[in-house]
Structure formats: structure tokens, C-alpha cells
Amino acid sequence: MTTKLMGQKVQRTEDQRFLRGQGRYVDDVHAHPTTLHAAVLRSPHAHARIVDIDVSDVLDVEGVHVVWTYEDLGPLSPEMAEPLPLLIPHPDLTQGRTQYALARDEVNYVGEAVAFVVAEDRYIAEDALDRIQVTWEVLPAVVGIEASRAAEHLVHEDVPGNVGARSEQNTGDVEAALARAPHRLQLELDIERSACTPLEGRGTVARWDADTNRLQVWTSTQTSTGVRAAVAVKLGLDLGQVDVITPDVGGGFGVKVMHPWPEELLVPLAARLLGRTVKFTEDRREHFISSAHERGQVQHIDVGFDDEGRILGLDVMFWHDHGAYTPYGLIVPIITSTQLLGPYKPEVYRVVFESIYTNTVIVTPYRGAGRPQGCFAMERTMDKIAAYLGKDRTEVRAANFIQPDEFPFDQGLIFQDGRELEYDSGDYPASLEKLKRLIGWDEFPALREKMAAEGRTVGIGLACYVEGTGVGPYEGAHVHIETSGKVKVATGLTTQGQGHATVFAQLVADELGVRFEDVEVVTGDTRRMPYAVGTFASRAAVMSGSAIHLAAKRAKEKALRIAADALEVDEADLEIVDGVVQVKGSPSTRLDLGTVAVLSNPLRYAFDEASKAATQFAVGDPGKPPVAEDDEPGLEGKDFYSPQRATFASGMHAAIVETDPDTAEVTILHYAVVHDCGHLINPMIVEGQIHGGVAQGIGGALYERMAYDSSGQLLNASFMDFLMPYVTEIPDGIDIDHLETPSPLNPLGIKGAGEAGVIPVSAVVAAAIEDAEGFPITAMPISPSDLHTLRQEHTS
């Protein structure tokens, strides 16, 4: 191996498959006419009691195999009649509630699963749904944070005030700090709901193998091991009877972190009962009304500061709309409440939140997970302080930065993983300098003047964030060197387009000294790595990357030990280059790694030439047992990586926007990103992640919202009406600069990079529009008609 691959823009190996139409997404599995297809009857009401369900007409439809309502589940599996799990319990979540796989006697959002049909194809299954007669008693719906807080009606009768949780953290006496502060300001800030909206919706395929008494499940998930455990529990199977395979996933962005989805349980149950392969593929409307959303929060900030803009006391209260149920616990509001602090160190901080029920779709983390809201709160506060003091916005930020020599920096709070919120490393002043250069911060006044002379209105904004990435508890990896010299790597977390097959192969090639093209990586297959957590929270590179690095190291150690023995040289004198173990400085004394693999496994039988060379008659010392007491056959390495705490990536974005004087349309003229995720494994992939994140952030800032009416109907449940950005909405060119402050917490010095791009965009765009228009922007997203209305309010 001549060049180290870490840090190089290596082209992605998985692309070969995708570009030829040979990707394998869940709906591509068992794509043939014998597969049965499922469809789900979903509630048309946001809040209603089920008085009666009549399915008597359904089985008459030719081609229908099964129709289930809640009543049918218990007899098939007692666990299926229980509510779905509350995945992440938290002591503050005193009123946690989860739904049933099929609604029992009440529905709490439009789209909640009510009945399940399996038929010869999806068309017939949908015909059958039309024949199910449900008698409803419609109840008043609670829609939006205001209605929930008013609590005129309750989502769950037994949850007073619609409050699921109330949580508080503080680092001191904030009231006293505020009272002492020379200056004090208050802000009210709103962010609306949006959704991950991957292009591939959810999907599950299951096949029961009666001969081996095992269930095979393919699902479009971010956590195969999570689905496996849920399926085993709910179907009353041993974990060892369930295999979950996650093939290619067409985007996740959080929504595919399992809860588990009802269909992930119902499809396997049906497959087992029918002895046929059963498939469910969500359609786009279903994705809008029954898959999770995020972002909806109302936030109140009270801040006290000195003449320099240094924050002396920060008091935050916010309300988080978690929808109808709480399967994912309090993760999103906890992240907002802790990550809101960003790169700053207020002297005293208190945060209180209420996580509240509404009759709308559940909320689970969406790329950025609570941080866009937190960043919006903190950065709008910084801008307001700067405006109040008449200072440059970058100066006020710089006055509040944690300094490079202060790491590790303990914020004095408890993070989402239950560990201290302690930042590992960073250099925020250096980032800010880079960003100012990249966007042309100091030159902007001249640009503004020039544009004004042409009758054009422009504004500039910036925002900073810190992102806890690489959260535990662990990931593992298995590296297996075949007798052909090929290296097979398995890690349990999944892949949704982040290029894991490439970046993990880079790490293995570097550590093991093999050719990149000889490494093959498998992710998300519980048969290959049954212990894993999942791909979310920008944790894949840190967690699995580190585990793979460690596992490759172990495989290498074993290879060197065996080779040293065979070549009768000292281990320390050996190196591995391009898959060959050789004596340093004397490369003619060499052994292929494949041959080392042969030597590692003393065989009884000779199947081929390689195994002939490996029989117990050919391998080893006849005076010793063929496998030594402290050894194992095979050339493998397995290891796990479990960090003390999260790594903290950081970054800063800035934008120049133009607002149209007539149409109030907002155009982003220039977008700049400075990004620090520690050492980069593959800068091309990191930049791709930033591009994608920024585009999603622009969607959230300017276009995407979940338009519920007061009865809880989602009015824009299609791509015609939910405006996801096309290329025409994204700036032509996003400038990126990297800073690398390595993390001391893992062997590669890396931090995660998956979510960062999206976090500050709403804050940046709001600041730039505010700068252009001259009045405060306090709610996002902002449409041209919103801006137009604001203009009218501020001129009258």
C-alpha cells in the first residue's frame, strides 16, 4: 500500500451497483409474482373512538388472504395485543404513551393503523381496504402547540393538561444572574413541523422458513438489531430465530430509526401464519400521514448580558410538540435543551421544557434532531444582543466562545446519552475567521451598497453550532481474511447512502495493508454482526469506523504472528503491503495473506488446493495440538468500540440572501460552510453530506411545513403540496472549508458529519432576511406570503 487512503477522495464502490440499477432496496427483494402484499387501513380522523369495525365483506374479494383488526392480534401472539414499546424511557417522561400495532378502541392521529390486509397484490389489498366498514365516534382534535397548551380538550383522557413530560436542567441561580445583568432581552421563537421525507418510504418483507423454524425479515431501517429484538419479543420468538437484513436504504434521515413501526411486526406475523413471503411498501401519502415528523417547537428566551455581549444568564423555556404518542421518549427536546448552547459558555443557564401531546403524527428525530430549533434560539439571541448593543454580530459571538485551551469543556448538563455534556475538542475562533473570509463578511457593506444602487435588497447572516456526534453505547466489527486474500468486513449498523462500503474499506485497507478493492463491507445484517445499535446521530464513522479499525488491527496482529512463525522471523520485522506479509527491507521473504489464512486453520479435509495445504498433516508442529489452547482457527479479528462519551463536531454557516421587493421571494445568493468533524476519512463524502444537509436545511427554512387544519387533517400530504427543494431552490455552489480538530476520544480522531449541514440553516436564513428587511424574523419556515405580511405589519 503506497498511499494511505484515510483522508482521500476515494470513489464509492457501492455506486457501481446503484448506477446499473442493481441496488437492492427492500421493495426489490422478492420482487416476483408469488409474493403477497400488505396494505393498511388508516384512520381518517385525528381523534375518534372506534365503535365497531365490520370486515365481513373483505374476504369475499378474490385474492385476499388475511384481514386483521386489533381483536385478531392477541390470539396470534399475546405480545401483539400490548402497546408498542416505549423505546427510550426517561424519568421525566411521567406520562409516556404508545400506540397499538392496530388501534384498539381509539385513534389519535389521521393515519394511525386500524386494519391490515394481505392479498395477492397491492391493488387487490387496497380494494379490500375499501370494503372495511368502521363506525366512528369522532372526538375533538387537539392540533398545534397553542391548542395543546390551552388543554380545552385532551389527547389522552388520563394525561392532564396534555403534558407528557416536564424537564428542567440548570447550572446555577439564573434569576439572580438575570437580575444582576446590566442588559436584558426577551425573545419568542417558533419553528414549525417538517419531516425527513426520504425518497424511499418505509418497507418490510418477511419470509418464514418452516424447515429451519426461522424468520427472515428485510426492512428499510436505521437499526436492524432494534427491529430484530422487537420482532422476536412481539412474535414470541427467540432472538436466535429471527434474522433481520437491511439491504440498500433509500434515505433515512431519522424517520427509519425503529419504534418499531406496526408494519414491521404485522408483516412478519402474517408471513409466519401464511407460510408465504409478505411485503409492505409504504406509499407517499402513507409516509406523510403515518411516518414520523419533527421540529415543531415554541421557544421563549430571557437573556441577561454585559456591555461586551457576554451572556451572564440564559433562561429558556420551550414547548415541544411530540404528537400523539412518545415511542422515542424525550430525545428530541433533551437535545434542544442541551445543544442549544452551541460553542458558547453562558455563566448561568436554565432550561425548562414541556413535551406535549397533540392529535398529529408522532415525532422522532429528524436529521439534526432538535438542534435546528436550539440553534435558532441561541443564534437569534446572539443577533438580538448584537443589534441591542450596536455591535457586529461576529464580535458578540466571539465574546461568548469557549476558547481552544478550555477543552475538554464541561457544560454542566446531562446530554441525551445520560452522560455529562462535555465537549472533547474544537477551535471556534479559528472557524469564525475562516467563515468570515469565505463569505466575505467584512466586504459585505460594500456589496450591499452596490446592490442597493441597482435597486436590489440583500442581507447577510451567520450561525454557529456544536453537534454531539458518535454517541454510544457501542458498535462492533468483524474482519475475516479469506484464503483468497479477500477481506470480508461486517458491522451491524446500517447504511442509507453515507458510503459506508467505501469509507470502512478505506480504514481496513490502511490498517491491514491490503488493496482497497479486496475489501468488501457488509452492514445491517444481523446474521453477520448480531450486536449493533444503528445509524443515526452522526455515529457511524465514529462508532463503527473505530470498531472496524480495532478489528482490522486484531486481524493484522494474528496474521503477523502466524506469518512470523511460518517465516521464522521476528513479528516486529514484518509488514503487510498490498496483501502480502513481508520482511521489512527484504520483501523477497514473503507470504500472501491468503496463505496466512490457510495456515491459520488446520483442516481435516482437503476441498481444494488451498485446503489441501491446510490439512493437519501440512500445518503446524506435530508435537503440539493443531489449535493452541489460547488460539482459535481462522484469520479473523473482532472488536467493539464503546466510548466514554460523545464527540463534538462543530461548524458555522453564513449566507447572503436577496429579497424581492415585489414578490417577497427569498433567493440565497451565496452560502458558505466551515465544518469541523475532526479527521476526515473521505472528504468527498463529507462534502456530499454537507451539501445534502444544507439542502434539507434550506427546505426547512423556506419551504417545508406540515399544514394541518384544525381538525387534524394534513392538507399537504403529497409532493405536489409539500415543497421539497429541487435544484432550482438550492444555491448554485455551496462553499465549504474544513477545520480538523481531532477528537481525543477515538483512535482515528474523527467526529461525525451526517447531520451538521442541516442544523444552522434556519438561523442563518432568518438572520440574513432580517438583515435585508430591517425587522425581526422570529418564526420559520418563512414563505413569500409570510414575508409579505411581515412587511405590511412593519410599515403600518
Binding site: 470513489q11 426489490d28 420482487a31 425518497l199 451539501h691 403529497s718 409532493f719 429541487y726
Partner: protein
């Protein structure tokens, strides 16, 4: 209520296949589930995302908005048909690989077919025209930056004037071009 089935011939990627289908079967479903050509993806089933785009007589068409029975007597090209005879990648595919124009790959077949058709009509697009070419397809992962680059690179690769010397120049100009490590 058993459905009436229609025996039809579909000509896809130069191969004619006979299938028996109900009249309401979407072309996208027929390609994927009846013919096993799963490269064509369905992202919305209402004609907005473009993931299902195939070429019908050379023109980009949304396969989710067309019934399979109405595709008889046409020549359909799916993403599987863009690869060269010898199995190597066609110019548009190659350009997407070089420029990192895809992440999860779900939208990719629709982009590849669309760009293929557009470059046939306009082999030398300006930068704005390159953006225009992909303006009807949604991608949730890439932020489009590298997709636009890929369109421009594809035009270069497909250009008969384009030779190896030109290729070298291209590499020289882009010192940070991806390292090519191919299996």
C-alpha cells in the same frame, strides 16, 4: 370480482417480453414486479419526484403515470439499459460515479434516464442548461451540487470530440478529483 387480464408484449432494453396484466397495472409496477427490472424506482407514484423516469421511444416518461398496457408498441429503456454492451458504464453513469452525484442511489435511475435523454437533445449544455436538465427530479440526499457537476461531466464524456488528451487536462485542472480505485 376477478380482474380481466391482458396479454401484452413489452419491449424493454431491446428485449421483448410477454406478460399478462390487468389494465390498471402501472408501467412502473409492471417493470419492477412483473419483469423484475427493479432499477426503476417509485418515490411518489404521483408524477412529481421523477425517480420512476424511463425512456419511452427515447423520451423521458414517468412510469408511475402510465399504464403498462399503453406501453405496447413502444421501445422502453430503463436504467438497466444504459450500461454498455460490454457491461461498462455509459457516459452518464460514469459521470455520476466520478462526481459523487449520488448518495442513497434511490433517485439516481430517474436522473440517469432523464439526463441521457436531455444530452441527446442538447449535447453541449451551458451551466444553466445543465441545471435545467435536472430541475424536474427530486433528490433528498445530495443537495444537487454534484448532480449538476455530473451532467456537465457526462456531456464531456459523451462528446465525440472528447479524447484522452482532453481527459488529462480535465484531471490536471481538478487536482482534487477523486482518486480512482476501481474493483
Amino acid at each position: 370480482m376477478s380482474e380481466e387480464l391482458h396479454r401484452i408484449r413489452l419491449s424493454v432494453n431491446g428485449v421483448t417480453r410477454e406478460v399478462e396484466l390487468p389494465a390498471r397495472r402501472l408501467l412502473s409496477d409492471a417493470l419492477r414486479h412483473d419483469l423484475g427490472l427493479t432499477g426503476t424506482h417509485v418515490g411518489c407514484e404521483h408524477g412529481v419526484c421523477g425517480a420512476c423516469t424511463v425512456l419511452v421511444d427515447g423520451r423521458p416518461v414517468r412510469a408511475c403515470l402510465m399504464f403498462a398496457v399503453s406501453a405496447v408498441d413502444t421501445e422502453i429503456t430503463t436504467v438497466e439499459g444504459l450500461t454498455r454492451e460490454d457491461g461498462s458504464l455509459g457516459p452518464v453513469q460514469q459521470a455520476f460515479a466520478e462526481c459523487h452525484g449520488l448518495q442513497c442511489g434511490f433517485c439516481t435511475p430517474g436522473f440517469l434516464t432523464t439526463v441521457t435523454a436531455c444530452l441527446r437533445e442538447n449535447p453541449h449544455p451551458s451551466h444553466d442548461e445543465a441545471r435545467e436538465m435536472v430541475a424536474g427530479n427530486l433528490c433528498r440526499c445530495t443537495g444537487y451540487q454534484n448532480i449538476v457537476k455530473a451532467v456537465e461531466r457526462a456531456a464531456e464524456l459523451a462528446d465525440p470530440q472528447h479524447d484522452d488528451q482532453h481527459d488529462d487536462q480535465h484531471d490536471d485542472q481538478q487536482s482534487d478529483a477523486p482518486v480512482e480505485v476501481q474493483p
